[in-house]
């Protein structure tokens, strides 16, 4: 069953000018996001993993309109979000909402909970205070807050409860897509489990699609259907979460996974961790972006690598049945494609 995509990101690029010259003219650019394509269909979850500075935050900020794109498209419902104006733009906005990392800072400390939860509706206008309160009570119940919480202010809550408030706010407009920006990394593990369970429950009940960015690989494996691994503003590997994270193909994904602390394996030896720093993203490297840190670098890596569909080791492109779990895998590495790794 092929459903129409909810969100289509095509060739999205974000550069930030660095003012440095006379009269504040930009002399160079930070290349935060470089030609990213991704698709999210209704009801599915896509995870984006990568280290800080890989551009995952900028990517979602560009999708939701907090950052101006440099080129490319963010298509929702057949319309480019960045081109839409006026009422149409507001309509599109209602369809995707974001939950930020730290609920301490994403909730205005001076507003009561009912007002926080219904802020997107309040911005849209056209609802009476009583109607907003009624909706707030409904939303609060669905995220596990009690009615007496509605008149309290954020500082009276624990971190987990605050994140529940933020989730309630995000689903207030009945969106189709929720963007989750490290939604549990500011929380303790026991509370993280509560929030993850809540998000999974809401997905089952409301048919929400999620776009989650996280550095926690085991969380993404648990939570997401598909995953995209980002490095230096590019997607280097993508595919079904369990497949990619259990048997990574790209050398970067392998390094990343080897260094994730786990109860299952001991601390990796230093050789495996490839001591090194992220390359400067003001001047993009030529060829494969990961070449300088890659232990498999060889001839041919000085060519720009395309993101190509990836079969199993034998090199046969798997044409699996078109159901959700078996989405095609793709990898941006000619050596992985050739089965050399």
């Amino acid at each position: 069953m092929t459903t129409a995509p909810l969100l289509n990101v095509e060739d999205l690029t974000v550069n930030f000018p660095i003012p440095g010259g006379w009269f504040g003219r930009a002399t160079s650019h930070v290349h935060a996001v470089n030609k990213v394509d991704l698709t999210i269909r209704p009801g599915e979850s896509l995870g984006i993993v990568g280290e800080s500075g890989c551009g995952k935050s900028t990517l979602v900020q560009a999708i939701i309109g907090l950052v101006e794109r440099s080129s490319g498209k963010v298509v929702i419902d057949g319309q480019d979000f960045h081109e839409a104006r006026g009422r149409r733009k507001r309509e599109i906005r209602q369809q995707m909402q974001i939950v930020f990392q730290d609920p301490q800072s994403s909730l205005d400390p001076r507003l009561p909970v009912w007002r926080l939860i219904t802020e997107p509706l309040h911005v849209r206008g056209g609802m009476s205070k009583a109607a907003l309160r009624a909706r707030a009570a409904e939303l609060a119940a669905s995220v596990g807050l009690r009615p007496e919480h509605l008149d309290r202010r954020p500082y009276e809550f624990s971190g987990g409860q605050r994140q529940r408030i933020a989730v309630a706010r995000a689903i207030s407009t009945d969106p189709d897509l929720l963007i989750l920006d490290e939604p549990t990394s500011a929380l303790d593990v026991s509370v993280q489990a509560q929030i993850i369970n809540l998000l999974l429950k809401l997905q089952r009940e409301l048919g929400l699609a999620y776009l989650m960015i996280s550095h926690d690989v085991s969380l993404v494996r648990h939570f997401c259907d598909r995953v995209a691994v980002m490095y230096l503003g590019q997607i280097v590997e993508a595919g079904p979460a369990v497949q990619v994270l259990d048997s990574p193909a790209h050398p970067y994904t392998r390094t990343l996974l080897a260094t994730v602390p786990s109860l299952k394996h001991p601390l990796p030896e230093l050789a495996a961790t490839r001591v090194g720093e992220l390359p400067n993203n003001r001047i993009l490297p030529t060829g494969c972006y990961y070449r300088d840190r890659c232990s498999f670098a060889a001839a041919g890596c000085d060519r720009l690598q395309p993101l190509v569909e990836f079969g199993d080791r034998a090199g046969t492109v798997s044409m699996s049945p078109p159901d959700k779990a078996a989405w095609p895998r793709s990898v941006r590495c000619h050596r992985a494609q050739a089965g050399d790794i």
């Binding site: 309109g65 906005r93 209602q94 974001i98 994403s106 205005d108 001076r110 911005v123 500082y155 009276e156």
Partner: protein
């Protein structure tokens, strides 16, 4: 290492709600009795302004030529002036002109300053630069000279002097409000509101102003003391309240003629100015400490 202690204090304040805020106020008052002193002084001045006719024993404008320049006595607590008016009553009534003037000046400069400051931060770009340079120019004007120029142009009156002082105080609030707006604009909850499609005006009304107000109120309270002094200075040089209106600065000014033989004439209005200004400063400091979470647990 400080963060451990301060974060525990914060979380405790957070956990206990408004009831503990009352506690917190008492805790602070106990720890900083000067705040309490400031609050009591300001309260007394407010009572004086509101209930002047009830407190003052005499009509402040009633001449009693038989009792000119009397020293303080049971009949006239602060003595009398050169035409036999009761100085105690004149100081009580004088609080109206002096303090109300100072309050109006602060009110005008805060409201204009905050509007300009927030606009400047939101509009940004060249408009922002132009506004800020204009503020630099205004800041360079001396308040008293400007008041004298206005008085020369429009005639000496309390209102004209007030406008002059208010104008010179505006840039301080523009800078404060602009800084607050710029830093609040980067806060995540404002970003969240932007993703809901909130307009700049909505964000200003619901997020920026409520969160920017507390430092502005602190600044205004601290300023009030200084402005009580400026208002008195204006009256002292004859640019403020005109006779026969009673005003503290004007009282000191007239009393100056008698300073050698009739010490009380200058002293009591001068003390009134001093105590009021001090009260504003103490209260302002106290409020600042109370609103600053880093100092809260000290």
């Amino acid at each position: 290492m400080m963060s451990v202690a301060s974060s525990t204090t914060q979380s405790v304040a957070a956990a206990a709600g408004w009831k503990s805020r009352l506690h917190f106020f008492w805790y602070l008052t106990r720890r900083s009795p000067l705040t309490l002193v400031g609050a009591v002084i300001i309260l007394m001045v407010i009572v004086m302004i509101v209930a002047a006719p009830l407190i003052a024993p005499y009509n402040p404008d009633k001449l009693m030529l038989s009792a000119r320049l009397q020293p303080p006595s049971a009949l006239h607590w602060f003595g009398t002036d050169e035409v036999g008016r009761d100085l105690f009553s004149r100081i009580i009534y004088g609080s109206r002109a002096s303090c109300v003037a100072a309050f109006m000046i602060v009110l005008i400069s805060v409201s204009i300053g905050v509007v300009i400051g927030c606009m400047s931060a939101i509009l940004g770009g060249r408009i922002d630069t132009a506004i800020m340079r204009l503020m630099d120019v205004i800041m360079a004007l001396p308040a008293l000279v400007l008041a004298m120029a206005l008085a020369a142009a429009l005639g000496p009156s309390l209102v004209n002097s007030m406008l002059a002082v208010a104008m010179v105080r505006i840039p301080a609030y523009v800078r404060l409000a602009r800084g607050q707006t710029l830093s609040l604009r980067e806060r995540v909850f404002v970003k969240a509101a932007r993703t809901f499609g909130a307009s700049p005006l909505y964000i200003l009304r619901w997020h920026v102003l409520p969160n920017a107000m507390s430092p502005i109120i602190v600044q205004a309270t601290l300023d009030l003391g200084g402005i009580v002094l400026i208002a008195a200075a204006l009256s002292f040089i004859g640019l403020g309240a005109q006779p026969p209106t009673s005003e503290w600065g004007a009282l000191v000014s007239t009393g100056r003629n008698y300073i050698l033989d009739q010490w009380w004439y200058c002293t009591f209005p001068g003390l009134a100015i001093l105590i009021t200004a001090m009260g504003c400063n103490l209260l302002g400091d106290g409020i600042r400490d109370m609103l600053d979470p880093r100092l809260g647990g000290r």
